[in-house]
Amino acid sequence: MTAVWSASYRRIVRSAFATVPLYRERWALDGREDPVVVPGKRGTDGGALGAGEMARKRVDLVPLAGGSAEFDPCRGLGPVLADARPAGRGTVVAVLDPAIRRPPADLPRGVRGCWLDSEALPPAAMAELVSTLRRNGKVIAVGPDKTLGMLTAALPEDVAARVGAVPQRRLDELDGGPFGVLHDPALGYLGAFRDCGRWHVDWRNVFVRATSGGLAFTVLTQRSPRLVDILIAGGVRGRVEPCPRHGTPVVLT
């Protein structure tokens, strides 16, 4: 699995070097490592970029052939939720992060998603959540602790406890679960806390490697804006190891 995972990453690095202005400029002039793209140039922090610089220069994350320069902070929720708290058919997934402001687009078929403004929870949406819960349906709420608390406080007591809360965590605030998803405002959802008690990377869509600047994340499946080797949450030192139970990559910070 690791070899396939690394091969996907190397393919994305080669493609980014060939087509995306920001990576071309950074890696051609300064260099990078693992893989090295210009012999003799190894770059700073292995060629990884700080999240602030990436956000400031996002117009140059668009490949030469064109594409969107907008980040999708809701990207990847579907795959990570399958690990964090699986949603079956008929489940309603409510995203409550005020910074996201868009519904998830990659939930499994049969799962409904919405974004709710936690400051002004809309009555119609709340009625639908209550109705789903009273019909023994499943509601999963994803967001920071504060907004999850606001949602449960606004629900009737008899159903509030049945909301499946999935707190989202930044890389520098990973905790011991029992539920959670790893989130970044630009890269979207990157991993989940699983039943083994570890923070798993969504390895089908995300690659992560340790650099001298911290853990650098790459979104393997997004064409534009291309997100490669980004030091999220200000650069957090850590390791990437295979999970002893599942065999897939986990991050240890």
Binding site: A18, T19, E25, L29, D60, L64, A65
Partner: protein
């Protein structure tokens, strides 16, 4: 150094060295040649290196030598594509390829000036021989896939040395040139139409304008983003009006976006004046770079926000006026202003200087 053909009687013993600025060190004698020929800053080897790394069709530099002394140079884009949206592969040590490629002797970042320069001491005949030698060396350097060479934006002085049988020559959009026939700035402004004078008085009066050489206070990424957006908008308009060359309906554009790293180095130069226009909130509305050259200063990059994005119409008039003032006050012989939007420049008193392109297909390369 790659030796040329042995000299025959009546020809000069020239040789041609072809270098990839991405991997080759600066050629010997290059700085002296730049200074003696008073070349524009785009010929600076570091800028060529940056341009080459960050281009779809990167330039190589051909240096023509008389003995060890450079007497001529060509900046040559090695073009693999006008469509593929990818940067050129990194240099691998192998320069030859069977893949079809063509070469453009062209300065994509200063398109009104020829990418071919010679020492004044070389006669037309010697230049002709040097160019034929260059073509043979380029064919050897790039291999069998070379389809031909296009000399773009050549001045009337150079065309006789390039042209010949089975070579196709045609005139292209000229460069705008304002000859300095003025004693004072008011002499020039007095020649303008009243509405342009009115624009000149008012257009930038309330803006924060900063200008200077060697600017280190600028965010090159901000400049590049504005410039590339401006250029894309201008290209869309130009292509919409059929102004750019097309073949079979294709947009034959071999240029690349202008990279921030290039601009960053460029605006820090002591011979480049950068003027920025910001509104009261500090938003960059427009900027211009002007090459402060002793013989032929050039209004170089100009980029402005579109009206839809909060830009201000006709701000370029202020920029051009500052360029003209600079020329007059320094007693410089002329001011050039690129090849686009000639109508606007004519209204500011600019004339034109004709330019030609010469295409040399593979069978006649070096002949």
């Amino acid at each position: 150094m790659r030796p040329g053909n042995p000299p025959s009687p009546g020809t000069v013993p020239l040789s041609v060295e072809i270098l990839d600025p991405r991997s080759a060190p600066e050629p010997e004698g290059w700085v002296n040649f730049l200074s003696h020929q008073r070349l524009q800053p785009v010929w600076d080897y570091e800028l060529l290196r940056l341009e080459a790394w960050l281009a779809r069709n990167p330039p190589v530099l051909a240096v023509i030598r008389d003995g060890s002394r450079p007497v001529g140079a060509l900046s040559v884009m090695v073009c693999r594509t006008w469509r593929e949206q990818a940067f050129a592969p990194a240099p691998s040590g192998r320069t030859k390829a069977l893949r079809p490629r063509w070469a453009e002797v062209y300065l994509p970042l200063l398109s009104g000036y020829p990418a071919c320069v010679f020492a004044a001491s070389l006669s037309t005949e010697e230049r002709r021989d040097a160019l034929r030698l260059f073509e043979r060396e380029l064919r050897r350097y790039l291999g069998a896939g070379l389809l031909g060479v296009v000399y773009r934006a050549m001045t009337a002085e150079l065309v006789p040395a390039i042209d010949g049988p089975y070579r196709m020559s045609r005139e292209i959009d000229p460069i705008a040139v304002l000859a300095n026939r003025f004693s004072t700035f008011e002499d020039w402004s007095g020649t303008l139409a009243p509405e342009i004078r009115e624009t000149l008085r008012e257009v930038a009066a309330d803006l924060d304008t900063t200008a200077g050489t060697g600017r280190r206070d600028l965010d090159a990424h901000e400049l590049a983003a504005l410039l590339n957006e401006h250029r894309a908008r201008q290209d869309r308009r130009a292509w919409g009006q059929g102004q750019r060359a097309r073949a079979g309906g294709l947009h034959m554009d071999t240029r690349s976006p202008i990279p921030p790293a290039y601009l960053d180095t460029f605006v820090r130069r002591s011979d480049v004046i950068t003027r920025t226009y910001r509104d009261a909130r500090g938003k960059l509305l427009a900027f211009n770079t002007m090459i402060d050259h002793p013989d032929s200063p050039a209004i170089h990059h100009w980029a402005a926000l579109s009206g839809m994005d909060g830009g201000r119409r006709n701000l370029y008039v202020d920029c051009y006026a500052h360029g003209v003032r600079h020329m007059i006050e320094r007693g410089l012989p002329e001011l050039t202003a690129g090849r686009a939007l000639l109508g606007n420049k004519t209204a500011l008193g600019f004339g034109t200087r004709e330019l030609s392109s010469v295409a040399v297909p593979k069978p006649v390369l070096g002949r």
